[in-house]
């Protein structure tokens, strides 16, 4: 586990429209904006919390792809081997970086959830049609109970800065193989990945999906801290200490999932789900056995946070 302390901050909506759109934002309960410096005063005067953001500052942020499922003919199918576009690995790789999303209609809420799940500093450029749904997501995110716990990782990867290393991280994340970026191999981890070594040749890493599968085999499913059953399109981030855990679940599939089953190594007490769009829900069929805790999440449309309590 790393001692990364999370400071939950909501992504900022970059708003280019004029003050006449105030009512639209207020109706969506969006009160915090990033705007061009010359517009900042007028928005402040309208009662908004404003962060001035120049074009140069915006351009300096790392641009992120729109999250979701992308069709890849011959490589993936929507139901069996979905091709997920996700940026959690980027946030894990560069936690202090600043990001910007420029998302098409229907993706704003997912982008916001993804950023918050990883505690990323992100600005959202959205289409006006998404204001309502994004407002709902931001209200949900703001209402989440604050919990700061260390991030849980099963494997370490030494980041050589290469694009291949990045793509390996991407595929590890997509398989919910919890990883930590390190400067040098650490005995704290059963698997330490250093691309370019005899054990992890660069040529092998050029097939990141197969490479991630190899890492999974080395770790073994039994030793994985986290397993997800019932979907291949939910990516998780786990924070935990000895007695508590917070699990972030981001659903990239665009369809509500019912009864997602989660297995966490470790013994945790009763938990609850905070589900975007549904509020607080009890976990279903939670059991503890063989050193692991299992439960079902009643439903998840885009994002859910699971809080598990002190062990019984």
């Amino acid at each position: 586990m790393t001692a990364l302390l999370l400071v939950v901050s909501l992504p900022c909506v970059y708003w280019t429209q004029g003050i006449e759109t105030r009512a639209t934002l207020e109706a969506a309960a969006i009160k915090r904006l990033c705007v061009a410096p010359e517009r900042a005063d007028s928005w402040r005067a309208a009662g908004f919390t404003v962060t001035p953001l120049s074009a140069a500052e915006l351009a300096s942020r790392e641009a992120l792809p729109s999250p979701g499922i992308a069709p890849r003919a011959g490589l993936a199918s929507p139901t069996r081997s979905p091709w997920i576009v996700a940026s959690g690995w980027r946030f894990t790789r560069h936690p202090g970086a600043k990001y910007v999303y420029d998302v098409p209609a229907g993706k704003a809420a997912l982008a916001a959830a993804e950023a918050v799940a990883y505690g990323a500093d992100a600005v959202l450029r959205i289409v006006p049609a998404d204001v309502g749904i994004l407002g709902g997501m931001l209200a949900f995110l703001e209402a989440l109970p604050a919990v700061d716990l260390p991030t849980v990782s099963d494997v370490a990867i030494v980041d050589d800065g290469s694009s291949i290393a990045g793509e390996v991280m991407n595929l590890l994340a997509r398989r919910n193989l919890l990883f930590q970026v390190v400067q040098a191999p650490s005995p704290r981890f059963p698997v330490n990945i250093r691309i370019g070594t005899p054990e992890y040749p660069r040529e092998e890493a050029a097939d990141p999906s197969g490479f991630a599968l190899k890492i999974r085999g080395q770790l073994t499913d039994e030793q994985r801290t986290l397993r997800v059953y019932g979907s291949e399109v939910v990516i998780c981030r786990l924070t935990a200490d000895a007695g508590r855990a917070r699990l972030h679940l981001v659903n990239y599939g665009g369809r509500e999932i019912e009864g997602l089953r989660v297995r966490l190594r470790g013994i945790y007490g009763d938990g609850e789900a905070h589900v975007a769009g549904a509020g607080r829900l009890a976990l279903q069929e939670q059991v503890v056995a063989a050193g692991a805790t299992e439960f079902s999440v009643p439903r998840i449309a885009t994002y859910a946070v699971i809080d598990l309590g002190t062990s019984r």
């Binding site: 069996r80 999974r216 499913d221 599939g253 089953r261 069929e285 059991v287 063989a290 079902s296």
Partner: protein, 399 residues
Amino acid sequence: MHRRSFVRLLAAAGWAKAAASLDVAAKQENQAPLPGTSRNLPGIPPLRVVSTYAPAAAPGMPGPYPGRVVSVKSDKCVDTATGRANDEVVREMMARGMRTLTGAGTTPDAWRRFFEPSDVVGIKVNCGGYPFCVSAYEIVADVVRQLTGIGVPVSRIYVYERFQSQLDEVDYAPHLPQGVQIVAAERANRNVDNGGYDPATYLEADLFGEEDTRSNMMRLVSRSLTKIINIPNMKDHGATGVTGCLKNIAYGSFSNVARTHQRGKSHTYSVVGTLAAVEPLRSRTVLQIMDGLRGVWHGGPFARTTRYVFYPRQILFGTDPVAIDRLLLDVIEEQRRAHGAISIWDRSPGSLKIDDTRARDADPNVNIIIREPGHVEYASTLGLGVYDRGRIKVQDITV
């Protein structure tokens, strides 16, 4: 409530009770695999079964009639020009088949050998071959008629499939009495509805490196039904060779099974039988009625065209799914041979066009996956029935 409803609606009340049993399930996770599973055989992946359910003293499969099949044929049961079934003839075939199988003097007595009024009975239909080859309305309706005739209330009769979308297409409701439950575990084949499955009863296997390694039994099967009647069709299947009793009951009662066959390779050889043998499915499936009014000799399990439809005009009765499927292998093979198509046992690379369903549909000499008709014999090694054709006794009846 509309009588077509998801199993998930039925499941809520069972949660508290089920949760208490889940600890037990977990304790059993590391027990030995089912007798006969090929954990150590080359090419067969490790399969781990997790279930809290003990087998019945006499499990439904292979049941009281291992190695025995009653075949009832009638040239009049289907009009091959229109594909329409003759309800009256089908009823007579059903009655004769059940009486012959059981030796009972009357048809109700034959049904009483398997069911009593207190049972909650599931009827596992097959809707995958819509519109030309699904479990026949006439057969399903007669099963319901016989069950109610011996006192099983309609409210305790469930016609089930995995996908509601398929049940909606086939639409059994107009053919059945009001009150019969028609239920599915998932709205459609989209891998988002898990609520209809039992998280404590599953097969765990990593077949192709997929992340979701579990296939869970339908809650309806594990937590509600006391008996199951299996009504498969006589169909070819691109991954298993044929889809009959074993495939219908196994892949139709568990989640996440399409993962077993992809990119030209099929793990159905071991998974079909292993799933069928998971308790309580094995113990509760007490009667096999193979609907051979119509059949599909290529392109199965689908039947989107009549091009590969044929008319065996028979119904097979038994309790041994292996014995019936052993006969089915010959039926499909014979049809394919008659049409000059490659054998269901063909494994040659030259016949294989991986994932090219269009080529498969256009040409019966194309496989998209190497088929595994050996799954039937494998199931026999799990104790599910008799595979040796010389030991299978078939009683032929003509109506």
